[in-house]
């Protein structure tokens, strides 16, 4: 694959979109073939970091993305352990991004998947995501920077992939201290077979590493450079999901495409908070330099700053469920609304301090 070409990223996006739809056929929750935020949240629950029984499962897709990226980066000489660029700030941004994701009920990747399933609530999410990216780009152009990274020892870059491998062992061994949602107990009980999920995640990790697929980067490059390469991958995922969902709806007994606002799977209809949730995600993703999927891929390449962002996502997910911040199909919670407003304020402070507070 010519990884500079738009064709390459479009093919990758189509493959990823097909995989996302097939994962639902194989058992994942509806409109959730992939969701980085939800799957990290489920993993946090499995580890006992939160006590929400419906969403507890070590998701092999997350493990696969990290290990896929790690493997292909090693094979191509692009494994590059580095870090030191404001790690705790990145942790905090990752936390805020997760709060936004769980307000909307999905990461940018799932937002596209939801659109491909006909969920029009995701249009509000997309609008918020784009506004958040514009906000982030404003700060980028004013001088926002978390300062440079430095080369690190190889062991630093291997830690997160090793943790991912250990999580996979825990999933297979299923010891008593790992929590799993009871059958029919909620989204955590809905999953494809372990090795199907792992392979699907690995394929996505490999393709995303080779093409640099990033939901936030796509819109950012359009705004900054009028460059449509990354966003074409974004569009390809949508098209593949849409077509696959229509085919699956026609060919199976299930409903994979249902256009409208009401009655969507694992989604709510509160437009304002869908918008503000994804605004938080878009803003945070630009401050981090990539969406949650991109953070996983970069962490697999050995970037410990991105690993810190992933840890922020994990802890953020635990907080969201321990303190009633996460939305449900019934809608957002009062705590969640307060948390999103606080997170937007925190992101604005981080952006301002690292833009206007560092001018030489």
């Amino acid at each position: 694959m010519n990884n500079n070409s738009k064709t390459g990223i479009i093919i990758a996006g189509l493959i990823i979109g097909v995989i996302a739809s097939l994962l639902v056929l194989f058992g994942n929750p509806a409109n959730m073939g992939f969701c980085i935020a939800c799957f990290i949240r489920d993993t946090a629950g499995a580890l006992g970091l939160h006590q929400a029984p419906p969403v507890q499962y070590i998701r092999p897709e997350i493990i696969g993305i990290i290990l896929g990226s790690f493997g292909v980066a090693l094979a191509t000489g692009e494994f590059s352990p580095k870090g030191g660029s404001a790690p705790l700030t990145r942790f905090a941004i990752g936390f805020c991004v997760m709060v936004g994701c769980l307000m909307f009920l999905g990461c940018p990747f799932r937002m596209i998947i939801r659109l491909g399933g006909g969920d029009l609530n995701a249009l509000l999410g997309l609008a918020g995501f784009a506004l958040g990216i514009l906000c982030g780009v404003f700060f980028l152009n004013q001088g926002y920077s978390l300062k440079r990274t430095y080369r690190l020892a190889a062991t630093e870059g291997v830690i997160l992939p090793a943790v991912a491998a250990a999580l996979f062992a825990l999933l297979l061994l299923a010891p008593a201290f790992i929590h799993f949602t009871e059958p029919d107990g909620g989204p955590g009980a809905k999953h494809a077979a372990i090795f199907i999920s792992l392979i699907a995640g690995a394929v996505v990790g490999i393709l995303a590493q080779r093409t640099r697929l990033c939901m936030a980067g796509g819109l950012r490059d359009v705004v900054l450079f009028k460059d449509f390469r990354l966003i074409s991958g974004f569009a390809a995922i949508f098209v593949a999901c849409l077509v696959m969902n229509l085919i699956l709806t026609a060919a199976t007994a299930g409903t994979y495409f249902h256009m409208g606002f009401a009655g969507q799977a694992i989604a709510h209809t509160d437009g304002l908070w869908n918008l503000l949730g994804m605004f938080t995600v878009g803003f945070g993703a630009i401050l981090l330099g990539g969406c949650p999927l991109r953070q996983l891929v970069l962490a697999g390449e050995g970037n410990t700053d991105s690993a810190m962002a992933v840890l922020g996502l994990l802890v953020g997910a635990a907080f969201c469920h321990n303190f009633g911040l996460a939305s449900s199909g019934e809608g957002p919670t009062a705590n969640g609304k307060i948390a999103v407003v606080i997170c937007i304020a925190v992101l604005a402070v981080i952006a301002s301090v690292n833009t206007f507070g560092k001018k030489e």
Binding site: N4, S145, L224
Partner: protein, 81 residues
Amino acid sequence: MNCVITFFNHFGAVRYKNEAGRFGWNVQLSPVPRSLSSSCGTCVFCDTGNDDPLGFITDEMEQVALPDGGGYRIIWRAEDS
């Protein structure tokens, strides 16, 4: 001389573009070419005329590369990067 310069952050590229203008160099901001790096940040494509691009190095620069066949050859890299 045509070269590609990558940076540790987006604004480093913006600042470089503004400052390199005083040498009369032709500088364009762009996404980093995939064949140069797996980073998805901002780079500059720079035509320095007869000047040596290594004559102007900033703290925010990560690497300088020259087009080489279908890819790039790195001629300078920041310490510890």
